[in-house]
C-alpha cells in the first residue's frame, strides 16, 4: 500500500501555445500537509486546476485511492458583491440541498451547517452575511464548507493571503488540527514562506518546472529558494 495520496507524472500545461507547466513529476504524501510554493507566475494555481481536473494537460495525475476520491476545495476568495445577502448557513444549504434555498433549509442541511461551522469555530456567525466577515472568518467558513463534503484531500489556494498575522496563525492551527485529527491530506498553495515553514510536512517548490520537493528542512535552503525565487534573502525570512 502506497503512502502517497497523489502521484503527478510528467505533467505539462500549455495555454495558447505558452508553456505554463513543464514536465512536473512529484508526489503528495497521504495524511500530511503539503505546501506548493513558487514565485508569482510559477504556475501554482494552474497546477491546482490540473489536479482538480478543470483544465487540459498532458502527463498524468493519479489519485492513489482511486479517481473517485473526494476533494474539498477552499478558493482564495469569493466574488462577493457589497450587497450580497448570502449567509454562512446559505452556503451550506446551497451546497448540500437540491431544492432552491428560497424554499427553506431542510433539517439535515441545518445539522450539517451547525456541525461544520462548529468545527471551524464559526457556529456563532451562522446567520451573518459573508460580505461582513473578515478575511480570516470567511476562510474558516469556506474550510468548514469544504470539509462538509467529507473529503480525503483538502486543497487550499492561498488561504492566508490578505489575512493579518493573528488570523493567519489561527488558520494554521486549524489546518494542523484538522490534519492530525482526521488524517486529512492537505495541499496548500502559499506565498508566505514563514507560514509554509511553520505548518508543512512536505514542500513542492515549482517555477514552471519542479525546483525541489521534500521536507521543509531539506527544501527551504538558500540554494533552492534562490533557484525558485531568485532571492536567497527570503530564506532568513522563512526561518
Amino acid at each position: 500500500m502506497t503512502n502517497d495520496a497523489i502521484q503527478v507524472k510528467e505533467l505539462s500545461v500549455k495555454i495558447n501555445e505558452t508553456v505554463i507547466l513543464d514536465n512536473l513529476s512529484f508526489t503528495i504524501p497521504k495524511a500530511q500537509v503539503t505546501s506548493i510554493i513558487g514565485p508569482n507566475g510559477a504556475g501554482k494555481t494552474t497546477l491546482l486546476s490540473a489536479i482538480l481536473g478543470m483544465i487540459e494537460y498532458s502527463g498524468s495525475v493519479e489519485f492513489c485511492d482511486g479517481n473517485n476520491v473526494k476533494i474539498g476545495y477552499v478558493p482564495q476568495r469569493l466574488s462577493l458583491a457589497k450587497d450580497s445577502a448570502v449567509t454562512a448557513a446559505d452556503l451550506f444549504t446551497m451546497t448540500h440541498q437540491k431544492k432552491p434555498v428560497y424554499l427553506g433549509t431542510t433539517r439535515r442541511c441545518g445539522v450539517i451547517a451547525e456541525e461544520y461551522l462548529n468545527l471551524v469555530q464559526m457556529a456563532h456567525y451562522k446567520n451573518r452575511k459573508l460580505s461582513v466577515l473578515s478575511g480570516g472568518e470567511l476562510q474558516r467558513v469556506l474550510i468548514g464548507l469544504a470539509l462538509s463534503r467529507k473529503p480525503s484531500i483538502l486543497i487550499m489556494d492561498e488561504a492566508s493571503a490578505g489575512i493579518d498575522f493573528q488570523g493567519s496563525s489561527a488558520l494554521d492551527d486549524l489546518t494542523r488540527k484538522l490534519n492530525r485529527e482526521n488524517s486529512l491530506t492537505v495541499i496548500m498553495v502559499s506565498h508566505d514562506l514563514s507560514v509554509v515553514n511553520r505548518s508543512s510536512d512536505h514542500i513542492v517548490c515549482i517555477n514552471k518546472t519542479l525546483v525541489c520537493q521534500g521536507p521543509p528542512e531539506k527544501t527551504l535552503t538558500p540554494k533552492s529558494i534562490a533557484n525558485a525565487f531568485g532571492n536567497p534573502a527570503l530564506h532568513s525570512h522563512a526561518h
Binding site: L52, M54, Y73, S79, L80, D83, A85, V86, M94, K98
Partner: protein, 287 residues
Amino acid sequence: MLNEIFLVIYHFLDIVLPFAWAEPVFMKNALIALVLIAPAAALVGIHLTALHMAFFGDAISHSAFTGIALGFLFSVNPSLSMAIFAVAISILIYFVEKKSNIAMDNIISVMMSLGVAAGLCIVSFRKSFMRDFQSYLFGDILTVSQGEIIVMFLVLVFIVIWSYINYNRLALMSLSPLLIIDKAKSRGLSKLLFSLLCAVLVAVSIKVTGMLLITSLLVIPAVTARLIAKSEGRIFRIAYMIIAGTSLFALIVSYYLDMATGGVIIVFLSVLFFIAYLLRAVWKISL
C-alpha cells in the same frame, strides 16, 4: 376549450376584484400577464444581477429591435422573430466570449450596437414599420392577447422547473465557479441555458415595459430585494412581492391617469429602490 378557461378566470377576477378598473377584458388580460411575469422576472433577475449580467440583459432587449424589424420585413409574427433573434444573439455572445480573449462587456457592447443599428437600417428602409414599432419600444400591456398569455404561462412553467433544478448551483457559481468543482464540466452549459432563458423571457415580456425598459423590470426588484434581505433565501420572496405589488398598483394608476403602464411600473420600482436604500442605510432595517 382555452376560451372557456379564460372565461372561468375572468369570472373569478370579477368576484375577487369587483372594481371599475378591473371590468374591461383588456385590464383582466393585463393583470393575468403581470401575475405570470412577476415570478419569472424575479427568478431570472436575481441571477442576472448576481452573475453581473445586467448589461447582457440590455443587449438582448435592444437586439429585439432587429428581431422585430425582421419580423415585419418577412411578414413573420414579430414576437416570434424577436425571440429567435434574441436567442441567436445570446448564443453568439456566449461563443465569442468562450472562444476569444475579448472582455464580456466589450462583446456585449458590439452585439447591442449591431442589434440596434441593423433594426434602424431596416426600419428606415421601410418607414411604414415605424408606427407598429411603438408598442414594442415602449410596451403596451393593455394589448396583450390570450395567445400571448398562454406563451407567458408556458415560459413561467419552464422557468420554475429550471429554477428548482439550478437555483443553488447558479447562486454558488456567482460567488465562485470553484465552489462547484464536482460539476465543473456543466458550468458552461448552465450559463448558456441561463442566457437563453433570459433571451426568451425578455422577448415574451417585452410588451410589459417595452424594449427600452425591460431589463429594469428584471434588475431593479432583484437589487432592491438584495439590499434589504437578511439572507439569500429571502431574496426571491421579496423580489416577487416587489414586482407583483408595484405592477398591480401601476396598472391601476395608469388606468385612471391614462399613462403608459410600463413606464409607471419602472418609476414605482425605482421609488421603492430608494425607499429600501433609506430603510437599510439610515434605519438599518432588513427583512
